[in-house]
Symmetry: C2
Subunit: 464 residues, 2 copies
């Protein structure tokens, strides 16, 4: 935190909204259960339009101008409420698609028959992401119920393909840049911190992934009859890879680090204060030491440094015992996690040039690329967002300059040019993508409060 | 060839044996068909004792002192005829086990119902190895039929586990060194040359094989969440392997080449005269160039240099598309083909020391080891063997100083201390280990003649 929080009770307008949320909490939970009954599995194209239409109806009922917009994949729900001239416009992003519920037999209660147990709502989508964007909707509803209006302008963007990698999100945002113009973007998604302390993240790493395919002979041959004569594509890939990253963990591709922006002082301070401990990770994963370079702080590794991971290496015999084969093809799959301002297309071009130079016969196949994203910690809206989380939780949020994984946040920061904040509403153990997905009722209600406090804070900004 | 052959017709004694073979050829082929009717599949333990007993009977009927000797696996047939004091003793080696016949549907006629088509006998074992050692038996029989005695002393050793890697052969030879004492060993096995020209091989490469097993975390992790933090066992193996062999094809293990004996001048001349052409191999396997070092002659690669082959590399994701995984384990399988006088145990110790030094966390698991073997081209029995092949074929044999693959010949050269010659009797396209295995009747008869000429030559040696 770059300043201490105002410890005074929140302003009267917000207190009234919090009181409304508190007195409607049972009803809100019941309505969440009702929403979670509707499957919307993007990868299987199950129930997508039904849920999109449901959302359009919910938001229309709140007075939003809402519509379902088709894409080459699943439809997007877009909704707007813009009636406070001079106030900021916040874009709320979420996704209404869910993961498939397999394995079904591992669920205590069926994934689309929501149940409450021990203060948690269990259902597919409870945490990821229906419970979270439904909390955002209830925040809007609560403000409207208490005050008859919202304190600021709101755009709602709910996509239906997050669980399949958001293949059409960037295209959609590019096609609708004017209609999506906003002052900031807030995403409620992901699990919170293990401690229960709220989190705000300001950035994500990008990704560039690719395959290396090596072939030699037109078929596998006998290692005795042709060893030393027929080239071995596994050796080719081993020697190639060894030129791409050294044993000290340094990526040795020409220009790979050229565009890396080192963290700012306040990012460094924030990262350090997260107390990400090497010992904790070693214990969790049963490691003797961390990856090279071993003296790099964990927070630096995860937030401020790019990576080059081999996801898989496959060639030749892998069964029991030995087989005297000299294989004729081998495949390596890799991903590089990129930090601000590395560009995945540029990195892939550099990787490919390196491969062409060092192992001309190896095929380089691009598979995925997503830009990194970072919102400055001293962004103009940073204080408002942090205050809102504090107001809702009564606890100061943890500030993550960067999440180590990849999300398509760049569509907001780079395509829309808006600062982007991710505030996970779900509990740490939400079991997203797994059986018995859940959200605690406490997290769900704090999510509604966070949404309400954010709107209030943004409205206050206009009036200040 | 180190000297030109005597072009005169063979001596009278041998001519008579050749005449006997010629006048009995139809009967001999019929008796081969009968022998091939008996399955003896070692890996499935089918019919082994039946065929071993059959062989004991055949050899006893010829006047051999023959017996079946149990081993921890399939029995060995051992037989002796030693009635010519002062004459050399030749050990004839072969194996009576065959490969399983699968896939059955690919056979034109059933594998254990031998058929003659287009001058070939089709059956499992026709070439590998029943047809070949049966020709050796018929050579003995023909000498005995014509002259009532053999020209030299003969030991016969027929094992039943060659197709499963001869796991008990070395132990058997060690246990019976005194009973197996002989002046030379002759093996009739393998396919001949594509041209039909006869072959004599004087050596084989050895093998040392092992696995490298690397583990890092106690489970796979997400490459985004933990890339740059959790070590990657695939990178560990890539960096380790890159220290073991360089891009120029040089094996960079301390002391790896210490015991390599360079070829003698006559081995070099023999190898060169084989005209093993790089272009032929490139065309056969669709290669642009051979393995590094690219300027090394093919014969040198195959006969006089050791290899280090990665048979397989497996770790992480290998399915369709991409998966952002950081794998927690990876496995590499390797073999090294060794030349005279490298010792596989010594090589494995050097490999393991290298691994312990360069990647202490990687597990080194030995899987196989067989010594190389080489009989000098100027061995005292070399001329006799070469002359015998010439006498039988009317064509000079091709001389292979070393076969590139591995056979357990060291049990003869190193355990018995005898020179060892391998003379393939089968045709190049015998389809050993495959459906429609066969031997041409011409090759079968020339095999009998070769066996007969060899006995004759060895007897002549005693008389000279």
């Amino acid at each position: 935190m770059n300043k201490s929080f105002d410890q005074s009770p929140c302003a009267k307008e917000l207190s009234q909204v919090f009181a409304h949320i508190d007195s409607n909490k049972d009803l809100f939970v019941d309505r969440l259960l009702e929403y979670l009954r509707h499957p919307s599995i993007s990868v299987e194209n199950i129930g997508m339009e039904v849920v999109a239409e449901l959302l359009v109806r919910m938001l229309s009922d709140l007075g939003f101008e809402a519509q379902m917009i088709q894409t080459p994949g699943c439809p997007v729900v877009m909704a707007r409420w813009e009636r406070v001239p001079g106030a900021p416009t916040v874009l709320l992003y979420g996704h209404y698609d869910v993961q498939p519920p397999d394995p079904l037999e591992a669920w205590v209660s069926p994934p689309f028959e929501p149940r409450i147990r021990d203060g948690r709502v269990y259902a597919r989508g409870a945490g990821d992401n229906k419970g979270q964007h439904f909390a955002q909707i209830l925040a809007l509803e609560s403000h409207l119920a208490v005050h008859g209006r919202l304190p600021c302008n709101v755009l709602f963007l709910l996509e239906g393909e997050e669980e399949v990698g958001s293949p059409n999100l960037a295209g959609f945002v590019r096609a609708h840049v004017d209609r999506l113009k906003s002052d900031l973007v807030v995403t409620a998604d992901g699990p919170g911190h293990e401690s229960g302390q709220p989190i705000i993240t300001y950035g994500v790493r990008g990704i560039a992934s690719f395959e290396l395919r090596a072939r030699a002979a037109n078929r596998d041959v006998h290692s005795g009859n042709f060893g030393g004569v027929v080239p071995n594509p596994i050796w080719t890939l081993v020697h190639l890879l060894a030129t791409m990253k050294n044993r000290d963990g340094e990526i040795t591709i020409d220009g790979f680090y050229d565009d890396v922006v080192p963290p700012t002082d306040i990012e460094r301070v924030a990262a350090t204060s997260l107390r990400l401990e090497a010992d904790h990770i070693k214990q969790e994963f049963g490691l003797i030491e961390l990856d090279a370079p071993t003296d790099r702080p964990v927070a630096d590794r995860l937030m401020f440094h790019p990576t080059f991971t081999i996801n898989g290496f496959h060639g030749g015999y892998g069964g029991a015992g030995s087989k005297t084969v000299l294989p004729h093809e081998a495949l390596v799959k890799c991903d590089a996690r990129l930090v601000e301002r590395q560009n995945p297309e540029d990195i892939l071009a550099k990787m490919e040039a390196h491969v062409k130079k060092n192992a001309p016969g190896v095929e380089f196949v691009r598979t995925e690329s997503t830009l990194p994203s970072k919102t400055p910690l001293d962004s103009p809206f940073s204080d408002v967002v942090q205050h809102a989380v504090y107001a809702a939780h009564g606890v100061e949020p943890l500030i993550y300059p960067t999440l180590p994984a990849t999300l398509p946040d760049y569509v907001f920061t780079k395509l829309l040019g808006a600062p982007s904040f991710v505030i996970p509403y779900a509990n740490y153990d939400e079991a997203n993508h797994a059986p018995n997905e859940n959200i605690t009722i406490d997290c769900f209600l704090k999510g509604i409060r966070t949404g309400a406090a954010l709107l209030d804070g943004l409205g206050r900004l206009a009036g200040s």
